[in-house]
Symmetry: none
Subunit: 313 residues, 6 copies
Amino acid sequence: MDTSIFIHEKAIVEPGATIGAKTRVWAFAHILPGAVLGEDCNICDSVFIENQVRIGDRVTIKCGVQVWDGITIEDDVFVGPNVTFANDRFPRSKQYPEKFLQTIVHTGASIGGNATLLPGIQVGAHAMIGAGAVVTRDVPAYAIVVGNPARIHGYVSTTNSKTVQSQNSGTEPEALSVARAKLVKLPRIVDLRGGLSFGEVDRHLPFVPKRFFVIHDVPSVEVRGEHAHREQHQFLVCLKGSCSVVLDDGKNRNEVLLASPQLGLYLPPMVWGIQYKYTPDAILLVLVSDVYDADDYIRDYDVFLKEVNQGHG
Amino acid sequence: MDTSIFIHEKAIVEPGATIGAKTRVWAFAHILPGAVLGEDCNICDSVFIENQVRIGDRVTIKCGVQVWDGITIEDDVFVGPNVTFANDRFPRSKQYPEKFLQTIVHTGASIGGNATLLPGIQVGAHAMIGAGAVVTRDVPAYAIVVGNPARIHGYVSTTNSKTVQSQNSGTEPEALSVARAKLVKLPRIVDLRGGLSFGEVDRHLPFVPKRFFVIHDVPSVEVRGEHAHREQHQFLVCLKGSCSVVLDDGKNRNEVLLASPQLGLYLPPMVWGIQYKYTPDAILLVLVSDVYDADDYIRDYDVFLKEVNQGHG
Amino acid sequence: MDTSIFIHEKAIVEPGATIGAKTRVWAFAHILPGAVLGEDCNICDSVFIENQVRIGDRVTIKCGVQVWDGITIEDDVFVGPNVTFANDRFPRSKQYPEKFLQTIVHTGASIGGNATLLPGIQVGAHAMIGAGAVVTRDVPAYAIVVGNPARIHGYVSTTNSKTVQSQNSGTEPEALSVARAKLVKLPRIVDLRGGLSFGEVDRHLPFVPKRFFVIHDVPSVEVRGEHAHREQHQFLVCLKGSCSVVLDDGKNRNEVLLASPQLGLYLPPMVWGIQYKYTPDAILLVLVSDVYDADDYIRDYDVFLKEVNQGHG
Amino acid sequence: MDTSIFIHEKAIVEPGATIGAKTRVWAFAHILPGAVLGEDCNICDSVFIENQVRIGDRVTIKCGVQVWDGITIEDDVFVGPNVTFANDRFPRSKQYPEKFLQTIVHTGASIGGNATLLPGIQVGAHAMIGAGAVVTRDVPAYAIVVGNPARIHGYVSTTNSKTVQSQNSGTEPEALSVARAKLVKLPRIVDLRGGLSFGEVDRHLPFVPKRFFVIHDVPSVEVRGEHAHREQHQFLVCLKGSCSVVLDDGKNRNEVLLASPQLGLYLPPMVWGIQYKYTPDAILLVLVSDVYDADDYIRDYDVFLKEVNQGHG
Amino acid sequence: MDTSIFIHEKAIVEPGATIGAKTRVWAFAHILPGAVLGEDCNICDSVFIENQVRIGDRVTIKCGVQVWDGITIEDDVFVGPNVTFANDRFPRSKQYPEKFLQTIVHTGASIGGNATLLPGIQVGAHAMIGAGAVVTRDVPAYAIVVGNPARIHGYVSTTNSKTVQSQNSGTEPEALSVARAKLVKLPRIVDLRGGLSFGEVDRHLPFVPKRFFVIHDVPSVEVRGEHAHREQHQFLVCLKGSCSVVLDDGKNRNEVLLASPQLGLYLPPMVWGIQYKYTPDAILLVLVSDVYDADDYIRDYDVFLKEVNQGHG
Amino acid sequence: MDTSIFIHEKAIVEPGATIGAKTRVWAFAHILPGAVLGEDCNICDSVFIENQVRIGDRVTIKCGVQVWDGITIEDDVFVGPNVTFANDRFPRSKQYPEKFLQTIVHTGASIGGNATLLPGIQVGAHAMIGAGAVVTRDVPAYAIVVGNPARIHGYVSTTNSKTVQSQNSGTEPEALSVARAKLVKLPRIVDLRGGLSFGEVDRHLPFVPKRFFVIHDVPSVEVRGEHAHREQHQFLVCLKGSCSVVLDDGKNRNEVLLASPQLGLYLPPMVWGIQYKYTPDAILLVLVSDVYDADDYIRDYDVFLKEVNQGHG
């Protein structure tokens, strides 16, 4: 065995297990014959790793975790102490499913201590699962989830991220750090007959809309959007209630709360957008620069990043 | 005096009063010297008519009504029994205003028995005031008002009027009897994440919008709109709650209930529009074909009719 | 003319009008040729009575009232000052309906001063219309109505009427003054898992039910019931919200508020019942002693009184 | 008869009626023998006045009004056309109460056209009843009432009255035109744990409170206060919801809307205060400078005015 | 020791512990002297089992579980990884209760990974506890519980179970797979005066009711019913809101959602019934074929099964 | 090594670790060189203790717990099985914070099985954390917290603690067991115009207030107060909704529910106060005996206890 590998004398590494260079295995850990571990991992006390398991490089697994058949952990993942995985949705003693449900924890994700993951879950790249969370659905890339059952609480900040205050007091459009996106203050007239907000092309909208849509009745746990447009421009106004919009141009990231019918958000093409934290009464108006075209949508974040880097945007 | 006129022997018509041909004045009626009455009127028992009063042709005034200085009643009006007019907003004994407030009851209007009209009211042509109503504001042409205080309950049907069912099941725009107006069924997508309605230029909108506004928090007693556009096109969607829209091209009249975010109403230029019966939670989105231009608005129904007949529309 | 009749020297009774003995007609009153008035009536100053009018005995009509063609006023009715009747639902000057709508004010009813009655209304026997009310629907016998539009506010007490407190503290059925009707306190068990009320044959129900029905979502202005059963027994429990029940055996009358799922009301056969003042959330359970039989229902109060007096009950 | 009196030739003034100097009685009016009318009154066409009636000086009674036995109208009152009084709460034809209910319309009050007053009502001095109102309760002095049933809508302005905007932006106490009363802006701290408003002696309160009370759950139709203190100071803060306060020092009058927990109102002694227009959720905190003392209250507005003029305040 | 038993060389089985045939004990597990384990169990890595513990046959205990004094695990139970039991309600270091609270996990139950069970809990036969649940109350047989705190989410399906759609469109009673139970569509009449549903003996009810009860205000977490009747018939209608009823005749199982006052559910004798998922506003009417008799109730599911199999039903 | 110490043969205590007398370390436990453990501790199977850890005397740590660098556990603490600590708020594999967040579990606290504590938490003395709770904020002394996220559910009773019923029926102030604190029944006057509660200096308030503040819109999860005053007196009235107040004079402890505007709570100086369990609509009025003075506040419970024992109070 590679001498850069450390196996504590009280650990059990069964013959046949594959252990990468510089990986350390601590006391009372137990690794079954079929397991494959990458390089530079840290496998702490009392960790148990079954056979049909693949673990990437630079993974940390803290004490008291079991990694069952069917679980894949990619590079750079952190698994907190006593995290509990599962591979059978309705376990009964002595009854085994034909195939275990596959759980994948993608690159760079982090799972807080004592979290529970139901079988068959995908944890997106760089997502963060709160300590004690009970994860019952897939977790999007970069999402932060907490609670029982776990709900999206926010998105992981990147170095260039910025949360924008929603109420600019002036009337000039306000630039965001995400390329070419803008926050626009809309005029409002209130009289005895009620309130009226409006926006005009050029003065408030940097494009002529050819399509509009309205999103409403979104359950508060839901996330919408999660795509970018290749050519189309969008303009968002939350007419009632509020929601949060995450914008991402591949380099910078903003989060904007739309909580007033006076606040418009301009989204240019090639900006990844996510809307979430809808209040129960939220009504989101979206104006778009062209008619619907399925080819204009990028729905896979990796494809989006690739096109951004090819200079599409 | 014209022998076609009938004056009951117990009536008092003061010298100087002007009475049109074929008009009848019944017992205990009392007409002061300055009053001017048109032809073919019927002035019933105990009616009292002051000096500065003009009454048109073919007017019926039932028993127990007083017509005070400052009141004008146009042709073909019906005034029910015990209807009560006023000409002083804050009457105090022995204190007189410099000039009495002017009340005008326009052609063809009908005032139900025992209704009360505050001073300075305009009752629009062909409007109908319910029995016992207390009218505290001007009444639009064709409106039906009831209650204390009186609120608009509906609009008088004309021969060419039509109330349109709001839910057309097909996807084709539905023509209305009002010239070139259309009801448009908007696509809607509902899934676990909520509902989404949208509309596109050409497919749903017959114009490119350059302005939008949103009407909300309208007290239910209020009427909005009441104007026509000379050049601009409008598209209305009620995103939440509901409201009723009356359309009138000068010849035909429609009433449409907007009660679904899936229902768009296209209003071409030279259509008079009225919106009323807002629910408390109603949010009305209006898309307009051009930026705001005060000269594009016709706010006087008579001007509108004149321009329609000049072939403007 | 009968010398017991008094006609004020300033009154006008047109030749052909029929005036009963002891009736008095005061100054500035005007009675047209076809009218028929009963005995011992009092027709005050400035009253106007048209041709197709029938007025019973002992009727009082106060000043400023007009009684139009098509209106019938039965015996012992009181019509307050300035009360306003109508006989044309959509009056337009010089346009007359083929036949005037018939209004009937039944025996013993009272109409408060300045009330307005729409055309075609039936005012039930002994009903009382509040001063200033605007009556837009038929008024049941004995009902008290007020407001604009007028709503039922209660029922007139008779000498033998009694309003029953709904919460008897004991467990014994409580007799009412209406023959054989009973209020029954039902047992109730409340624990952490919720509340449970129950009733059993013999202990609480004086009959074995063969039918049940449930009334709900009654608009608060509505009255239900208004009938008696010839043979069937009923048992009413208001499971949620509240409603008022008026019981009447032809001699005595009770009003009971059902406001608790613990309060059952037993209605024997030949008791007239009315339910009204439903709260918006009221749910009324009715258990009945036999299956539905249309012949068992008496829906006309006069028929009911007749059958009661024939000893049916 | 005094030659300054004018009686129209078609009027009937029965022998025995008392008519004051300069009073005019117009056509078809009818005054019974026992009536007593003051000087300089104007009794218009078709007015009917019974026997047990006292009418003061300078009273105007417009056409179509009947004044029944038991009604007193004080000086300077205006009674609009077709106003309807009553003197029997439950009128039945040919059944008379032992004594008619007494209605008194106090000095300077005005009754709008076609209003209805139930029997036994007191209309306070200078009060104003809206046209078409149905008055079912006593009306306070200076109050304006409208609707069916009539509710207080406001208070009559006097020459020196002023409605104060409730939100002064500065932090200095703001003087009102009512002597020594002040509006005080209170500090407010809002953080994640909620909001907090406070006030301190000297900085915000011009006295040391020895008593506080809290008013809540006031039905919106109700009026509270309606008294002055001889020696005690008060400080009012509306913690939730809102209410309106009318202040009156006998010369000047202010109306203040308390709609923010940040707004304090200081009421010095000898200021008459009325609170009304409570929202359903209103909670009014009152700090007072001394413990309760019944002798400190003046509850009769006339007594208050007398003490003010004696220099008490 | 029985050679069919496998003890991993790194496990510690203290002398005195009883291990059944074919049972396997894996690495780092530790079994104290008093423990009794059945046959064919699987005791995984790092499991700790104290002295006063009884474990049945075919039990699986996954890694990282401790089974404390006072815990009994019956046959065929599955205990997921890191499941945490307790035996002291208010643990304090070095303070011991006189007797540990007894926890029993009944036959065939399954406890999801990382679940927490408070002390003294009974987990019913075949119940399923969701991963990460925190169980604070007893869990009924077959129930599925999830969350923190754990609430009943549903009931485990058996081979013969069926969830019934609540709205049969026809009018014929619909048979269920549970013996002789039926869903009955009740007639409903809706007009402007509200809604009315009814049912009659023979047409809708297969028995004459002698008792009724009404269940309301059930907190949504509560389960009611959980018993069978030996002789009595029941008929359930949910008049407002909704609740779910589980029926079980010992062989087949149905779940019915009662969500309409038009839907009646007939439960014959010897059917085990459970009601749960009450909405906050649910009102459940139950008609029963005889008066209350405590001996008619079977409240223990095992007794019910025994009587069913003895042919009682 | 002290022979009173027991180390199981399968445990690993690294050289350099400090173990107090009478402490026991069980199988598969692993203690790193830098750890310091007090006397008479019980360290159960599979516990892992890192280097920068200090553990007091008489501490119990049940199976499956890891105690990481940066965690301090004071005397007499109980740590239940599988409790999971953390020391890095945003753990990423192979990325280490400069300094681990410090977690302190104070004297006598108890942590239920499978609870999760986020990094940097302070658990107050004698607090109790429910099984399965996920603790995301500091836990006050004596508090009981449960749920995910954990919320305060109550406070641990001490020998001298007493929960006070909020409605004393008499009018005398009611002494509490906390020194000099009093519950005061405030007078209340309810009539048709609403309700009114008041309090007066001397009669109800034992001091003259110079300051008042109002707390409102408190999210229900929040705790306010948590301080004592050195010199100032307070008087609390909950005007709407309710909240609970914990009082503590260092020897005795009371919990009072303020749920009526009629109930005042007098807090003398040197009483520690906590307010929690605010209903969403709660409005708490606080009268204070002097203007704001930061030096009058004691915000650290230990400082408070010290000053109490120095006879300050």
